[in-house]
Symmetry: D2
Subunit: 383 residues, 4 copies
Amino acid sequence: MEKCLRYGMVGGDLKAFIGEVHRKAINFDTRAKLVAGCFSIDPVLGKETAIAYGVDMSRNYLDYKEMAEKESQREDGIDWVSICTPNFLHYQVAKEFLLHNINVVCEKPLCFTIKEAEELEKLAKERDLVFAITYTYTGYTMVKVAREMIKKGEIGKIVNINVEYAQDWLIDSLDPKNQKATTLSVWRSDPKYSGISNCIGDIGTHAENIVHYLTGFDIKRLVCTTDNYGMALDLNANMILEYENGVRAALWCSQVACGHLNGLVVRVYGEKGSIEWAQEHPDYLHVTPKGEPTQTWARGGSYTMKYDAGHYSRIPVGHPEGLVIAFANIYKNVITTILKKKNHETVTEADLDFQNVSNGVDGVKFIHKAIESSKEGKWVEYK
Amino acid sequence: MEKCLRYGMVGGDLKAFIGEVHRKAINFDTRAKLVAGCFSIDPVLGKETAIAYGVDMSRNYLDYKEMAEKESQREDGIDWVSICTPNFLHYQVAKEFLLHNINVVCEKPLCFTIKEAEELEKLAKERDLVFAITYTYTGYTMVKVAREMIKKGEIGKIVNINVEYAQDWLIDSLDPKNQKATTLSVWRSDPKYSGISNCIGDIGTHAENIVHYLTGFDIKRLVCTTDNYGMALDLNANMILEYENGVRAALWCSQVACGHLNGLVVRVYGEKGSIEWAQEHPDYLHVTPKGEPTQTWARGGSYTMKYDAGHYSRIPVGHPEGLVIAFANIYKNVITTILKKKNHETVTEADLDFQNVSNGVDGVKFIHKAIESSKEGKWVEYK
Amino acid sequence: MEKCLRYGMVGGDLKAFIGEVHRKAINFDTRAKLVAGCFSIDPVLGKETAIAYGVDMSRNYLDYKEMAEKESQREDGIDWVSICTPNFLHYQVAKEFLLHNINVVCEKPLCFTIKEAEELEKLAKERDLVFAITYTYTGYTMVKVAREMIKKGEIGKIVNINVEYAQDWLIDSLDPKNQKATTLSVWRSDPKYSGISNCIGDIGTHAENIVHYLTGFDIKRLVCTTDNYGMALDLNANMILEYENGVRAALWCSQVACGHLNGLVVRVYGEKGSIEWAQEHPDYLHVTPKGEPTQTWARGGSYTMKYDAGHYSRIPVGHPEGLVIAFANIYKNVITTILKKKNHETVTEADLDFQNVSNGVDGVKFIHKAIESSKEGKWVEYK
Amino acid sequence: MEKCLRYGMVGGDLKAFIGEVHRKAINFDTRAKLVAGCFSIDPVLGKETAIAYGVDMSRNYLDYKEMAEKESQREDGIDWVSICTPNFLHYQVAKEFLLHNINVVCEKPLCFTIKEAEELEKLAKERDLVFAITYTYTGYTMVKVAREMIKKGEIGKIVNINVEYAQDWLIDSLDPKNQKATTLSVWRSDPKYSGISNCIGDIGTHAENIVHYLTGFDIKRLVCTTDNYGMALDLNANMILEYENGVRAALWCSQVACGHLNGLVVRVYGEKGSIEWAQEHPDYLHVTPKGEPTQTWARGGSYTMKYDAGHYSRIPVGHPEGLVIAFANIYKNVITTILKKKNHETVTEADLDFQNVSNGVDGVKFIHKAIESSKEGKWVEYK
């Protein structure tokens, strides 16, 4: 019975924020070891990363295709690859590893086109491979508790939703003088590397995803406005979503909203209560049962521990966990699932509590529909 | 030179919340005295109100038409009438007093149809009468400070707006079992007394108005969804507004959003900074200059006093003022304007800092356009 | 049966903040009329105040002794006097009116010495006069709700208390260059007008009072440090109080704590729960039942209305009331008590829910014990 | 030149919260590897821990003395030991490793008596060994930024300090029925394992330490009350501290304060400004420059990056870091210091930014003085 997995990484050199987060998060689980990588197109930086993490030089690749090929042939080959490259490479890298029957964990958004997304989904399903998408915020304990509360009907039938994801890190690009420089320095603002959307693709998709994660609702149609302010891609978007069950959600995302740091805030209103969660204070959840005062639930509190999801909590109540642990919670389930499959054990629904390639497809579709609505100035149906 | 005015009131008996607020607010100014009223259709309650406020019985009317007629003929007749009736009476009462050349202060929304609204506007202008609409929240000092900051360009060119007004007092009407009873007991939920909208007409209009007050922006088009949940009128609405200058705003209003009390929150984002104001903590304003930490401005703070609007502050910093004083600030300007006109003094722009019949017309138009967009499922142009 | 009272005021001219607050607050009750006053030592300002409030010139006094004398002889003399002078006049003015059998409402602190305080207490009791002290913060609805919760045992036996009252309006007087000017311009910082203490006498006494109001506890002993920073009187003080039942409280007051506006915050911890109330957001109360999440109670919320004290609420939930209404709540009970006594009706315990001369004596004693402990550098016993 | 260190751990088995935190934190640095341990008195649990972390069985010790002995003799012996045992073992374990010339990182409090503490301090100094104490909260970036601001004089001369550390996890022990069980299950409440204090030794010492860390002030005298509520050791304490420069601080710590989770809050007031930091939202710092609005500084914000300490930030602004990264920041400096010493490089003051054995001595002294003051009911001098 295997107890420990081996993984590789494409992208995510030492200087890349998100690669580090993935590695620290995986380490929290102590059930997987980094053994291979194709960390950077810069060979020096790639090598440094390999050394820092003790990756053997024979498995420090310069070409991800070679990596997929060689790792698939080794007996001690990697059990999965974590893809931390810029968006435009997700599709080709993911496809390569799937074709070599290697499980995939990929950053969001999954890829550029719906067709590509569906191709990856099909490949993963046909080959029965795990394909996780790291929609980070679904990893926070209190998001999971909120989801469980909603599932159990504790806030009743949902009647309205409000979600926003506001940042201000691109505010300087509002100034025409800075726009060229921004496009050069921020790959997300360049269609070549980012696809048809910047803001919606980068953060709007998280907002859409967290609502789906919490409620299970599927979008029926949406109306959207985007603001580019002179840039090639959107920096701000306002939307109304209508789900198949008729419930509506307002969704706002922005990279130019002065004063917002990483302001993902989701609020779900039901007939019997409501919940509110804000990413910057992730260990807390605001719950209002109908007719009662608003309650501030804390991760690790005894009342939270009455929920299965409460047990994702790792450190005691009142001691902040933070983003890396949210990632660790995602990987925890990914690793359990891969391990169980490897050991021919039964994978449970709880093990599968991570966003997968189908959620990735949803994300790509959402980006396309939103941009379409904005361009055509009207409601756009999903079907 | 007159120093003190006389006023009358239609509606607003002792048991009515808003009539009391008007009277206390006017009293804060110590420049006007209540001398006449037609407070209630219940003569006993009307009389009790008159007695409590020392109104002479000869000026305690049962019929507002009689009141308009008689007061207009007295030498010491009222200088203005405050209309605090349910919505469906605003038009006829306001018209009657205008026709008798008496200034009017009216609760929002002004009336039911755009035609009626424009008729009242025309009447007031022709006769050069003051016609104020008590959009309460424009009376708060920190809203006025925010407006001055925006006017002075301190947050730069505006790029996006987010406004919401959420309450939960009608949440019980989500349950079909309660809907008949709600319609009977809450006049706002009955089209007969409330017109074509409940939620948008009651609170959505405040949200729209405060953005206009802060920015001066006029709406070009909007898209809206409304949720009635089985009731005759809307209880929840999501909108995207587009202003004539291309700026967009998300607007959400709800009377069924569990956990929200009187949650008017407005956020205006500019190229150089942003402001956020929340009605439940009205003495504070959150200001973020670009690239700097978010600041919490307090009414009465020395930095606030550098703004003309800062001087609306009446009690020292840190001591809460509250809703009545917001009303008092509106009446302060209304009274000054009426007094100056009476004394043939020059009325300044600062004196006219209250919402007037034209803002009332805008409010009625907004309600109609929003309902239209919701019904037709598309963007609706203003022109 | 009398339904309306007449009152007079000593101090509190138009330019004085607190006099205005008293008058607006009394007006909220619509059961008392200002008919006499000795508003200022400046006759011009006094007259202006009288005119603004419609006080007949024959009852606009220049000498409070004459006022007490003449009003006591009129058949329509004042039912009570509100004393809004600087601290150093409280004793003599209060005494004069008591000696003329006129009820008194006096600002805090009651007077300068324990002996004087006890003399006033004795006088009021002998003559069966109402003698209220306007400890403002006891007037807030949510403070009263907290008190009722504690009384009903809902937070269990109290185990610890933390109270602070921090402001920063005198921070400039930390600079030796400003100290002379401060002493001249701020009477509270001058022993002649303020007695033995500035900070403790001005705001520390509120902190001590609110704990007593909430819990009923009497102090057994205390230890205190004061910081004058070069001024004649204290600007900052730290204390530990021990009550007769052994419970301890930390008390901090300051007029030089940068960033604090009017920061009275009181927290009471019991075996079964805790409450926290902050003056700057007075419509809310934070309640934590043991083992449950912290709850934010709102004035006017249905759950608040289950408490008798909840019914002090005057305007709907979510609409801020503010300081003037806290004062109005104090006067409501004072007026009811005086009216009932005048009409020979039974005064209930609920009517007497205002701070009286005995609480005033406690306040004076507290100031003296705190200063004594600070000077002697040791614990000081009350008895 | 060495680039990577080897470390061992005493205590901290898989089930122990704090051992896990140490290991994850060290891993964040990727410059040290766990190679030896004496993790538990339970051999099964110890072995499991060793396996989980890949520690060779030959270095999985059952006896810490054996571990010190053998590791000191190996060429590839550990560079330091991290001590994560209950308090009562700190002294003997630390001493043993010091005597074998191995650097030490020890949990707080250092040990039970001042004599023991000074002995350890002497040993470490004589042998020129690194001896760090993990006062966790000094590791947070925003605490370090606050310290730098204070050092640079940005809030001016300090005039008052307020610090509290409140929790409620022992509230059940207020009930006499639970006290015996608590003593058995919570080693901190048993003098045998915890020394003369529970609450002050566990969390009060953090409160004292963070003030010293921020200001550099040394205590001159203190007055303290403790509340045991029937237990052998304190569960709550109120103090006033006086520093050698005359500045005072109020300090409150509690394990029975209902509603507080891990509520360390420190506020430092200066002549030119103030800072406030709360552990539960560690990525933010509230700063109020005199005469300006309060500012909310965020870790990672560009204005924060103007401070050297800002660069402790690891993940982008708005993405929470949490407790483990605070620990990682402490270990970062410890590891740098040990590495530099090993490589005969110059250790800078910045490298030494971690709490050391002398701070540990201060902590033990503080606990003793506080308990002494409480017992004797008077101010206690440090010298």
